[in-house]
């Protein structure tokens, strides 16, 4: 029995068992992993197969999942949860699967060569730099979703990630990690990752930390995306609108006119590009902030009823073991195709070019404060003058969003519970501090 036939048979069985609503997900996947660490290289090939069921009705519901094919006769958990609601089937706009889906997984030799090659290249680009740990994952999966509300769909996914942790010998404080994601290992750009890692290690090795300085800030995509990811409570779910309103100015503006923000589950070429979400609801592009004005939060069809917002297919499943929940897919700042990142850097009279985040952002929307430890360069008349080993970029969240003066064209995504993307950003109104 195929995955789809098995899912249909299980939905029918669950209905016969007295469940008014039933939904079955069947997923199969393969992942190639190559890892380099202190113990030596590890090559892993994984075959994954799993299923998940949500069933019940107005009186209660349950969730069950397991490995292998969905079993028709398994014991079910008690339907003790809240009433279950499932979406109706909706027409799915035409969608052409990306050619990347067809690409085979990296073979062992390719994956191993890529990891060992980047370790060599990092040492060549920066004397004393060495890789502590590197992991390449290249995976593909096929998912089938069938429900008693008429949803009967299948879709494929392809995702590769490369995560590298490195240090400059004798300087443990330089330890840095860089991660990139693409739709397949063949689309990863390991040379770019090595250059970025070498730059970060170099400034963290040779730089200083100013006590307190203000000025214009140019945020590389990695820094902007980290901040955007930390601000997800402002963009996701019904409560987000309340937080955003509290941070808006007296003209009802959350951001500057340069700031537009969207989430797009169908983003062409996006790592998580898909025609439907984890419940089979069509995905689409949704504008959350338009030229500084907050339009609405990202909400699914259940949450949309709590306000006057437009729903979108945004329910995500981290895997077949996880209960589906609303989440971001490709949340990003809209880039300006006319602006080169180098132009933003050269426009700064005095300030900083922040290359990467060093730690986890601290964000307190209630107090309108944020802080993120960063590294980069001090800028004078558009030129890099002094490396910044680490310092806290801090200020108000509202000031951050309204301080965006220009955005570049180099939109880059990072994995952060979904994909979060930003181009290079030019900001004012923030400061760098040595300590909080």
């Amino acid at each position: 029995m195929s995955g789809r036939e098995g899912a249909r048979a299980l939905v029918a069985r669950l209905e016969r068992e007295g469940n008014a609503l039933a939904e079955v997900l069947v997923k199969r996947g393969r992942t190639r992993r190559c890892e380099l660490g202190p113990g030596g290289p590890v090559s892993v090939l994984t075959e994954e197969a799993g299923w998940a069921v949500r069933a019940g009705g107005g009186d209660g519901s349950f969730f069950a999942c397991g490995s292998g094919a969905p079993p028709l006769d398994a014991a079910r958990p008690r339907a003790s949860g809240p009433a279950l609601r499932l979406p109706d089937a909706q027409p799915v706009p035409a969608w052409a699967p990306s050619p990347a889906l067809e690409a085979p997984l990296a073979v062992e030799g390719e994956a191993r060569g890529l990891i060992l090659g980047l370790a060599r290249e990092l040492g060549r680009q920066l004397a004393g730099a060495r890789v502590l740990h590197a992991v390449l994952d290249d995976g593909a999966s096929e998912t089938v979703l069938v429900s008693s509300r008429g949803i009967d769909c299948g879709f494929a996914s392809r995702l590769a990630s490369l995560r590298v942790e490195a240090v400059v010998d004798g300087q443990p404080e330089t330890r840095s990690t860089v991660e990139v994601v693409a739709r397949g290992a063949h689309l990863l750009r390991p040379q770019a990752l090595v250059r970025r890692l070498a730059d970060v290690l170099a400034v963290r090795s040779a730089g200083s930390s100013p006590v307190r300085e203000r000025g214009e800030m140019v945020l590389a995509p990695a820094v902007g995306a980290r901040l955007l990811a930390a601000l997800v409570p402002l963009w996701l779910g019904p409560e987000a609108a309340v937080l955003a309103a509290a941070l808006s100015d007296r003209h009802d503006r959350l951001g500057s006119s340069e700031l537009s923000l969207v989430d797009d589950g169908r983003l062409a070429g996006g790592a998580l590009e898909s025609p439907v979400d984890g419940e089979g609801v069509p995905t689409r592009r949704l504008v959350l902030v338009e030229e500084g004005r907050y339009l609405q939060p990202l909400v699914d069809w259940r949450q949309a009823a709590q306000g006057t917002w437009k729903p979108v297919g945004c329910v995500r499943r981290a895997g077949w073991r996880e209960v589906p929940e609303p989440g971001i897919s490709h949340l990003h700042v809209v880039p300006d195709p006319e602006v080169a990142p180098a132009d933003l850097v050269s426009s700064v009279a005095r300030g900083f070019y922040l290359l990467d985040a060093v730690g986890t952002p601290r964000v307190d929307p209630g107090a309108d404060r944020f802080a993120l430890e960063v590294c980069g360069f001090g800028l004078v008349q558009g030129r890099a003058r002094s490396p910044l080993a680490r310092g806290w970029l801090c200020g108000g969240i509202g000031a951050l969003l309204r301080g965006v003066r220009a955005v570049g064209r180099d939109l880059t995504f990072l994995p952060a519970g979904g994909m979060v993307g930003a181009p290079t950003l030019l900001l004012t109104g923030l400061e760098i501090r040595r300590a909080l």
Binding site: P38, G39, V44, E47, E48, G66, S67, A75, S80
Partner: protein, 437 residues
């Protein structure tokens, strides 16, 4: 008992085909794991069940290893995994073992989970407190068996509970061996203290003496001793063997990893590479005696002893980790420790911790603490953070309590493995922590 009837001889013959060099290590890992959970608010908790089974075959040769894993158990899946890790096609192919399957495990209802949540809320109410809690209670069970080309050790089984309570001000979690009345009282006490600590003043900042209660000492030792002495951590800085004989702590500190001495339910006689676990002295009178080593590290050293390999799932290669840490008790009663400490903080529990393996800096977060003034317990403080360099902190050990308490040290997430870790520790008095909120 899913793996008692495995045809170990057939599996060993298949594995032997691909371990064709004298120093090769090959193993087959079979796993069945279940999780019953109840999530939500009391009276309306969603029952969830997760059941999975699968296998992995791994070959370790020299400094490299190859792993093939799958979400199923059958002769065909096993044969495919063997072929994938083989470095060359075997000349004579032994038949795949038959029969090869996992036996059934009994289903648990999950009703005891919701009953526990009700008991905790009643215990909170008895403390004259009340607040909404969103519960995530899970019963975790795993059966595993690791077979090699020469060894067929016994099946391992673990069973325990995790409890996460989400409130308007925090997300609090713990691991439990049983959902009994004592556990309900303990969870209620922690949550009530955390609730009251919201309005408490911030903890003092700067260098401070700290008495870590047994639960907090367990987390501290996991970060500062266990992680620091894992061979993959030591390997980041060079040769793990170089740690042997190094003084890491003050004289009185004896720390043992003893998987076979863990409480029933999480006791291990065999590690996840199929090797016998050992009672391992990590620190004897403050000196490193035997780091936590897996087979790969031990194969490169004559002085490192394997038997500490763990894996959170068949899909990941084993790594060296602690299972059950024991801090040998000292002579001081908890009252004496606090009296001798004089001024400082009593930290009863830690919500999380981390170790920077290169700098040796450890950072610990607590949900609440009590001030110590004149050697006596004073007011409650709000949440805060402790930090310092491991070698400095362990060198600043001032006293060890006489009463060790067993418990969960929490989830360890290092290296992508999510592992439950356990400990038995008395209170510790350490000076020179950096404190802050």
């Amino acid at each position: 008992m899913p793996f008692v009837d495995l045809e170990t001889g057939g599996i060993a013959r298949c594995l032997a085909q691909i371990a064709d060099r004298p120093d090769d290590h090959v193993e087959a890992f079979f796993e069945v794991a279940t999780q019953e959970s109840a999530r939500g608010v009391c009276g309306r908790m969603t029952s969830e069940s997760r059941t999975e089974k699968g296998l992995a075959v791994r070959l370790v040769r020299g400094g490299e290893s190859w792993l093939a894993s799958s979400d199923g158990i059958s002769p065909e899946i096993f044969g495919r995994a063997v072929a994938r890790v083989a470095r060359a096609r075997p000349g004579a192919v032994a038949p795949s073992p038959r029969p090869l399957s996992a036996g059934d495990v009994d289903a648990a209802s999950g009703e005891d989970l919701e009953t526990f949540a009700v008991a905790v809320e009643a215990a909170i109410a008895s403390r004259h407190a009340s607040f909404p809690v969103h519960w995530d209670l899970r019963r975790h069970r795993r059966w595993s068996r690791t077979l090699g080309s020469l060894l067929a050790p016994e099946q391992q089984h673990e069973s325990y509970y995790s409890c996460v309570a989400r409130t308007s001000w925090t997300s609090w979690g713990t691991l439990l061996l049983a959902l009994d009345a004592a556990a309900a009282e303990s969870v209620a006490q922690s949550l009530t203290r955390s609730f009251r600590a919201q309005r408490a003043p911030a903890p003092p900042a700067g260098p401070i003496d700290v008495v870590l209660g047994p639960a907090a000492a367990a987390v501290f030792l996991h970060e500062a001793v266990a992680h620091a002495l894992e061979t993959d951590t030591l390997g980041l800085a060079g040769d793990p063997e170089a740690a042997l004989g190094v003084r890491l702590a003050a004289d009185g500190l004896d720390v043992v990893d003893n998987p076979a001495g863990a409480p029933a339910g999480v006791r291990r006689s065999v590690d996840d590479e199929g090797l016998p676990t050992v009672r391992r002295w990590l620190l004897r009178t403050g000196v490193v005696e035997q780091p936590l080593a897996d087979l790969r590290a031990a194969s490169r050293s004559e002085r490192l002893v394997p038997g500490a390999a763990r894996r959170s799932s068949r899909h990941l290669a084993p790594v060296p980790r602690s299972t059950h840490l024991e801090l040998l008790p000292g002579a001081a009663s908890n009252e004496h420790l606090m009296a001798d400490c004089g001024a400082g903080l009593l930290v009863g529990e830690l919500s999380r911790g981390s170790l920077d393996p290169l700098s040796g800096r450890v950072e610990l977060h607590f949900p609440w603490a009590r001030r110590l003034e004149g050697g006596r317990l004073a007011g409650l403080t709000g949440p805060g953070r402790l930090e310092g360099v491991v070698a400095d902190l362990l060198g600043n050990l001032r006293g060890i309590g006489a009463e060790a308490a067993p418990g969960g040290a929490g989830w360890c997430a290092k290296g992508g493995h999510r592992l439950a870790v356990w400990a038995s520790a008395p209170a510790l008095w350490i000076s020179g922590f950096g404190a802050g909120s």
